[in-house]
């Protein structure tokens, strides 16, 4: 579960787990996180936790909120973000691993939100037990996570629109973020050897670069984790690498290969 670590002058004062849908921060005693300091407003900010995402909302009082050195109004909290309130610092620690709820949840599998559970949650909320509702929703999300066969359709009227089905789901894997672009591999480039632009160099930074004349002969150079490849796209004649015409499949390029395409020769090379 995500938590906040309250510290002042590098001294850790408290760890606060984000169990509630809304965690309020302020100077007055009714706040979930009370910071008794004049630089902190009575009701200063609120952290809204939805599933395992947390958002910081500055309540627009006298004293602003600063995250990682930048003043913010609304902020999507990332692991290790530091919220500054006067002399106090709140470090946000996202959850690293699924909580001990028995089965490991596969949060990348597509699944549907259960309507029955959502309705029960709404009913409980109507009954005044907001906390119970959160717990029930948690249970619903956990149930959905535990069995990939969880089914049902989220009833659109089940919860208030402004905060759709918020729940601090303890059983959750870290966010599936698209892998970064192939990094660390040497950058490739081509240098034209013949034609009007002979000598000109082109760096191959994009995942794919097309070469040639549309309608005559076109090839594409793709940048992949394994290296660079050349593939024939269109035209009766296929491009040649080191004098050999390539096949229909992508052809792997090596340092100093000479490509011939639409009557132009060019050299492929890797930059250090």
């Amino acid at each position: 579960m995500a938590k906040l670590i309250l510290s002042m002058d590098g001294l850790v004062l408290k760890e606060i787990p984000l169990t509630k849908e809304r965690t309020t921060i302020g100077r007055k005693p009714h706040n979930d996180i009370q910071i008794d300091n004049l630089a902190v407003s009575g009701e200063h900010a609120v952290i809204v936790t939805i599933l395992n995402d947390s958002f910081l909302d500055d309540l627009g009082r006298t004293n602003g909120t600063v995250v990682n050195g930048n003043p913010v109004k609304k902020h999507f909290l990332q692991n290790n973000d530091v919220v500054e309130l006067g002399k106090y610092k709140l470090k946000f620690v996202g959850e690293a691993a699924p909580a001990a709820s028995g089965e490991k949840a596969d949060f990348e599998k597509t699944m549907v939100l259960r309507p029955s559970a959502m309705k029960a949650a709404a009913a409980a909320a109507a009954g005044g037990g907001a906390q119970a509702a959160v717990a029930q929703r948690q249970a619903a999300v956990q149930a959905a996570a535990a069995s990939a066969s969880a089914t049902g359709i989220a009833d659109k009227d089940a919860g208030p629109k402004a905060t759709p089905a918020p729940a601090a789901a303890p059983a959750a894997a870290p966010a599936p973020v698209a892998a970064p672009k192939p990094a660390g591999q040497p950058l490739g480039a081509i240098q034209l050897l013949s034609g009007g632009n002979a000598g000109k160099e082109l760096e191959l930074t994009k995942p794919l670069t097309t070469l040639g004349k549309p309608g005559v002969q076109v090839a594409v150079l793709t940048r992949r984790p394994q290296g660079y490849f050349i593939t024939h796209v269109e035209g009766a004649k296929r491009p040649a690498v080191n004098g050999q015409e390539i096949g229909a499949a992508p052809h792997s390029l090596k340092d100093h290969d000479v490509i011939e395409l639409a009557g132009i020769k060019m050299e492929f090379f890797l930059k250090a």
């Binding site: 599998k109 597509t110 549907v112 069995s147 089914t151 659109k156 966010a175 973020v177 796209v233 269109e234």
Partner: protein, 274 residues
């Protein structure tokens, strides 16, 4: 009307780099201008069963109906176009088939699937969708998303809780709010758009759009649009190169020429001359 010469279609589907089996299912009927993509969910092999049922039911039923009905005609009784009605009816039929199978056989309990169906007719495109599988369009170098996901994340974006940038990092990408086969009945979202010769349409499962930026997808289509088969393979390869965490499926459809719904003899001759 046979659209085989009007639409160029390329498909590619792959289990990805992590999953052991492919729960996506794709189907294309070029003659009738119909393409269907489904991303199944459910334990063991139930996801495959659900997505397979969706594509099979919709393609076979639509083929049957299109053999003696004209999609551009308007039903005089309720002023509704036949196309929209028949797509909705077949989606509902697929829904009840999956729902019943899930109810009657314990190993299929709770299975379901997302869905995107595109029907091309009369210089138009009708799209019906459920869940987070998408339709994109590339026209004159501009690439944009056509469908809007039925997902918790999309609802949060719509209500302003998070920005699309933040959504890319969110953990609950996988929660869909609508799907086929989960409830006894379902209301697919249906829209109609005019098409132009040269347009390229991309249907894909979330395995592509979660792994590859829209910008890179658009670039691939504009660079490799000349070779649709290669473009489809390239998109799947890019998803796999970026990690391939989910099954990846793509269907590419290029509109080669106009295809007006012939309304009279002259129109027919005119369409044929084109």
């Amino acid at each position: 009307m046979d659209l085989t010469q009007t639409l160029e279609i390329a498909t590619c589907t792959d289990p990805g780099m992590v999953r052991s089996h492919n729960e996506d299912s794709i189907a294309a009927d070029p003659a009738n201008g119909l393409v269907v993509l489904a991303d199944g969910m459910g334990g063991y092999n139930a996801g495959e069963v659900a997505s397979g049922m969706a594509t099979t039911v919709i393609v076979t039923e639509m083929r049957q109906i299109l053999s003696n009905a004209k999609p551009y005609e308007v039903d005089q009784k309720n002023k509704e176009e036949i196309a929209a009605r028949m797509v909705r009816e077949q989606v509902l039929k697929a829904n009840s088939s999956i729902y019943q199978a899930a109810q009657s056989q314990p190993q299929y309990a709770g299975m379901g699937t997302t869905l995107v169906v595109c029907l091309f007719y009369d210089n138009r495109l009708l799209v019906a969708h459920l869940g987070d599988s998408r339709l994109y369009m590339s026209r004159e170098g501009k690439f944009k998303q056509v469908t809007r996901d039925h997902s918790l994340l999309q609802e949060q974006i719509d209500s302003g809780i998070i920005t699309p940038e933040q959504a890319k990092k969110a953990a609950h990408k996988n929660l869909v709010t609508k799907a086929l086969g989960i409830d006894p009945t379902v209301e697919p979202e249906i829209h109609e758009y005019p098409t132009k010769p040269g347009d390229i349409y991309l249907l894909c499962s979330d395995g592509l759009c979660d792994m590859v930026d829209d910008e890179d997808i658009g670039m691939t289509l504009s660079a490799l649009g000349g070779n649709l088969k290669l473009a489809a393979q390239q998109l799947v390869q890019m998803a796999n190169d970026n990690g391939g965490r989910d099954n990846v499926s793509v269907i590419l459809v290029r509109v080669l020429r106009e295809y007006p719904g012939a309304k009279g003899v002259m129109a027919k001759v005119f369409a044929w001359l084109k």
